[in-house]
Symmetry: D2
Amino acid sequence: MYKTALARCTRRTAPTLQAAAAARRGYAAAAATPPPFDWQDPLNAKNLLTEEELAISETAEKYCQEQLLPRVLQAYRDENYHREILSEMGELGLLGATIEGYGCAGVSTVAGGLITKAVERVDSGYRSGMSVQSSLVMGGIYDFGSVEQKEKFLPGMAKGQILGAFGLTEPNHGSDPGSLETTARPHPTKEGYYLLSGAKTWITNSPISDVLLVWAKLAATGKIRGFLVEREKCPPGTLNTPPIKNKNGLRASITGMIQMDDVPVAKEMMFPEVEGLRGPFTCLNSARFGIATGTIGALEDCIARTRTYALERKQFKGNPIAKYQLVQKKLADATTDAAYGMLAAIQVGRLKDEGKASPEMISMVKRQNCDRALQNARILQEVFGGNAVSDEYGIGRHVSNLFVTQTYEGQSDIHSLILGRAITGLQAFV
Amino acid sequence: MYKTALARCTRRTAPTLQAAAAARRGYAAAAATPPPFDWQDPLNAKNLLTEEELAISETAEKYCQEQLLPRVLQAYRDENYHREILSEMGELGLLGATIEGYGCAGVSTVAGGLITKAVERVDSGYRSGMSVQSSLVMGGIYDFGSVEQKEKFLPGMAKGQILGAFGLTEPNHGSDPGSLETTARPHPTKEGYYLLSGAKTWITNSPISDVLLVWAKLAATGKIRGFLVEREKCPPGTLNTPPIKNKNGLRASITGMIQMDDVPVAKEMMFPEVEGLRGPFTCLNSARFGIATGTIGALEDCIARTRTYALERKQFKGNPIAKYQLVQKKLADATTDAAYGMLAAIQVGRLKDEGKASPEMISMVKRQNCDRALQNARILQEVFGGNAVSDEYGIGRHVSNLFVTQTYEGQSDIHSLILGRAITGLQAFV
Amino acid sequence: MYKTALARCTRRTAPTLQAAAAARRGYAAAAATPPPFDWQDPLNAKNLLTEEELAISETAEKYCQEQLLPRVLQAYRDENYHREILSEMGELGLLGATIEGYGCAGVSTVAGGLITKAVERVDSGYRSGMSVQSSLVMGGIYDFGSVEQKEKFLPGMAKGQILGAFGLTEPNHGSDPGSLETTARPHPTKEGYYLLSGAKTWITNSPISDVLLVWAKLAATGKIRGFLVEREKCPPGTLNTPPIKNKNGLRASITGMIQMDDVPVAKEMMFPEVEGLRGPFTCLNSARFGIATGTIGALEDCIARTRTYALERKQFKGNPIAKYQLVQKKLADATTDAAYGMLAAIQVGRLKDEGKASPEMISMVKRQNCDRALQNARILQEVFGGNAVSDEYGIGRHVSNLFVTQTYEGQSDIHSLILGRAITGLQAFV
Amino acid sequence: MYKTALARCTRRTAPTLQAAAAARRGYAAAAATPPPFDWQDPLNAKNLLTEEELAISETAEKYCQEQLLPRVLQAYRDENYHREILSEMGELGLLGATIEGYGCAGVSTVAGGLITKAVERVDSGYRSGMSVQSSLVMGGIYDFGSVEQKEKFLPGMAKGQILGAFGLTEPNHGSDPGSLETTARPHPTKEGYYLLSGAKTWITNSPISDVLLVWAKLAATGKIRGFLVEREKCPPGTLNTPPIKNKNGLRASITGMIQMDDVPVAKEMMFPEVEGLRGPFTCLNSARFGIATGTIGALEDCIARTRTYALERKQFKGNPIAKYQLVQKKLADATTDAAYGMLAAIQVGRLKDEGKASPEMISMVKRQNCDRALQNARILQEVFGGNAVSDEYGIGRHVSNLFVTQTYEGQSDIHSLILGRAITGLQAFV
């Protein structure tokens, strides 16, 4: 019984396998020269990318290394976000790149991930600023907005002319957004308007944003709905977006609060249909995928920096410290996690485009890639010894940033429990 | 400059992306029902397999669960390998399955990996017995043997009628096989014959093997060469293959030594061309890929057993312990590592068939998958509390087995240094 | 204000400090020869022991190394406990050693810990057999028994002539003993007797025990009480203590169930006063302290075995593998944890004798010392490479045993939650 | 034979044990109320301290909490060290406190450790500034200086009027100070003077120091000697001590370089006898002990801050997150490591005063306490979720600081190899 099945399989797979077998034979026979190993892409993830994706990646990497990298050290020191970066990205077509139409590039989810990776190779803060614009706000409008909303905002956002912010988290509700307290009640006098009141915190880009996607509960139903709040339309004193300063990570991005005191919003600025947590969670899903891919970029930069340092730094009889077992193990561990993380991200990206990516898959790669990037970055930082304390080596910045990526858009433990619930069928949040 | 590149990319990728975008839209719009999450295949690795590979996997799983699983508990207790298992596998076409011709199935490397995974889901010892036959000996003959050697051995080995053993490791040379001491010197009186002398240890299947692939140094050149030693042709007293008993892992496989005292071997039984470590390392490469895939099977079985136990075991007010956060985190961690490991194994398998898999890639997936399988199995074992000490829950057996997989065919630290060398260009072995 | 305080302190501490300062000066001045470092006692824990304690430790170590060590390999293979070991220990005065009177040695808690450490250096199973006798049963009788009970049992138990077992854990109640189901109801016809019914499992020594300390709920009150069940007084068919075989750890100890079907027990055999979980928990506290100290012995043996192996095993140009950084780090880590664990155990032992040791302290050292002993033993096992699979190196046995110590008498996670409750004031069990 | 020994022991230990046994009995009998557990001192380390030491600790804690804590947040933000802190400490008698005479307090090594712990509970940078003054410079002068040197510097340093810096590390020689390149050659014209040339880096306090203890090689012999360089005596342009800015840790301390270009130093300012690495290593030993104790203070502060946050922060149905298992485990782990680390530090402190502390013991507690403090601080930081990015919670500052403590005065891996060498007798540095 078994045998028939396998025999049938064999016959069918035969053609493609002859090529494979030939390849193997060729290697074994000739094989003075085994295939090369590239420490920057150890498991040859490139082999899974289309030519177009490779080209997009190259373009993004070039921009980031040439234009972003020179700015980041000082920006991080000064806790100063250069708003023009979003314009530059817009000009290049990097914003909302997976969206089709509305002036967006319409690239694959994997290509979108490669863009975030290129940006986060420089700095997680820069990537955060872009993620909010692209995944959380543009993505939200694209998925849930009315035709008018899309046409009004997406083209300008794609160019980086209109900046967005995403208001979900509240001071008392982080891991449990379902309990949010911001409300939207009908305007007592102005027909077709709501009044939004409440406070949001840890909102990337809020102080410089033009349009704020705010999630609030309708007073009547208690259901969560999304509102597009335009700053320029808010009467003085109703909307306040003070920056949060003295952060110990993501200092090259700008973060703030959203304080709303009876902000009037026209009904047309509410997402027409989506209700409950499905709206914000769909946006988060896209952003989380971006984080999962992006943090691999940061980790890869840590690996490259550590490798260079270890080859140049000599101790004990003039040996480069890269020659020491304890250093090599750190590099081997980090490289492995980067390679594995990249494969997982590509897989989930492909599934996303096929409509097969479940939120739990996103939880898995977001959690694991952030955790491993952080953990390895910390271990690699040890290689720098006392010199690690200087910000010029860059790795300390990555370490501080990566800790934040581990906590936002679903803290690591929360994603564990999301996965645990999916595995066991039992929830353990309370 | 950048912009042009991205614009060009975009155009080219457009067609396939419309489907993707549609898929995404579809999900977001309808999306009361997100795509499903399967804890047994969390990142949908199945999506990467051909129909044929899925069928092969199913066939192998069916055989293993129905025929092997019922035997393993007692076999492990008694430290007793059932030799007939190899015959059964041969009958099913599971032996040397990636080899083309000679009665072998000629399936893809990934399909071969799925077979090892099915076997190791039951027991790493059973997989070891098969790996030696398939990857180390059949693979070695296929890659390096003369036409006559292939025709003489492969068909019978594929059927499981002729059993092979692989003699590389020596009592004093484990991680450093280049220093092996077994020698082949010209027979003083019999033209065209060598005399082999030396000792090999930790040789899976050696006590029951019919043909032993022995690596020895030619006395004249000091170069390592491969010899096919046929047991039935050895004069009494020249070849001895005593079993090694009282192992604390892999007890369902049989392990022994190879003691050679002037074993005469005809020159025709030497591999014609391959010289040095390239021969054994090529064989090991295939076997290591099998281990990398196989151990994921063992880990998946640990996850399934733990999940079942945790759902059934109730403590503290009748709650299943699967509801506790500390248990869910263990399951989430293990599931993640299993999913990641599987994707990496598939990737390396595909690259192998394309002739693009470097030995370091194999080192990476062998090391990581063994390490993570072992680590997670141990953590999951904690969920069983005191009951873990009973062998009937099976997880203790996996833990003991997986430790051995971490140490053989390249101990984990050795693979770290192989990777470290590839990353830094510096060797740190001595 | 501050200054006065410090000045006052200074004056008072002056006398002893002059000696200290002199010692420091002496070292700094002469100091070609710094004080020695002993890898077997890295933080000089011996300095904290009395002469008597050192002598007791030496005596116990001598017995264990000379009399127990030669037996353990075969006993573990055969899953065979030598009952006479308890007699030998009794003859030496090692049983119930911290008890005063009744033929017991009356040594300090720390001295008692040193005895368990000596035994567990050989095997955790041997230590388990002794712990049950000494801490759980003799300790229970001493703390809670009536004068008659003490006089009846303690002298014979101290000599190892009467063997005890401790029946708390039930098949469905491990981590949550408060839910135990065994009941004691008044004998319907025989005045002054109870009938005990229920089942206990994972009971060390139960198959060979003469007296079983069984915890059961009084049918009338539902309160937990302790009963001393004498095997010879049980009518045929009422008491059954089948062994549990095929364990994957502690195989040199004997474990079984206790099945009671209307076992008649005289009221005089009930502990007179203690009620609820305080009884069994007090016994467990003593046993857990023994485990905390004992497992350090097992870890120290792993360190010594690994060090010897690493110095003798040569790989790569004839270097002993002890010279490699990755091996040295493993030894440094393990040695540190052993040294820290020993200091913590001594501290808690001293506090116990002063009546200052809280149950949470015991939880802390039980958990940490078991966890770290296990973790380090596993890491050290890697140094043995493939050879680790042979039981003759002994370290695999320790690894298997130590896993069990981590799960029994409070699984590691349970102790985490006990500590968490003490730290936060909130319980997280359910 | 054994028996006699144990019996003898027993008799001798009997008297003290009766008290112990009575204490145990008392507890078991009464024991409705077990001894208390204090999460701030879980293993009752206080029980090991003298009244005087407790008083010193209290004084130091009071000063640190009242005077230092309010300053640290802004100082860290501004990377600004308040030089007057050392004066305040001097006034209180906290500087060079273990030194006897010269206006120093002459307290025990443990008391000295408690002072560093109190300071580091606030900030590792403040502790670093104090350690350099007390252990590295004052300690060095006290141990190796001439009578004149002691009298000239110690009293003013004790008061915090004269500030010291310790110049050992060089840009190219961190872990291997034996290769240092700074030289002292005889002044070509000025009799009895040396000229010092070379560069030192990562020197705490260097920019504000009055006297710099510089280690240099005598040109004639190549032997390392210590020189006390007085800033005010240096001709313009010969000594330069530029600060190093933009550090990512220890920002509340001041760090700089020492650049010497033919600095003339009188022969009387050279340490009279000590030669080679013994000098600097003795100083480092004292400082490392201070770090080992101090980092426990930082960890304890992390625990306290996390506990408070977790009790106040509510998520999911209004539960404080302190109630969640994953949070409790983090607290239990950290508390355990803090308790163990404190016991180890006290033990080594006592041994130091008895002249029994080997350098390897110091390596062990320095390495372990820094590693564990850092690791646990990072894990605890996760409890703060997104809020951790705000510097007002303080834990991010500890995390950044503790990373530096892990790398300075012997990076963690270097101490592993020091221990490895002591354990195996083989050195693995090269």
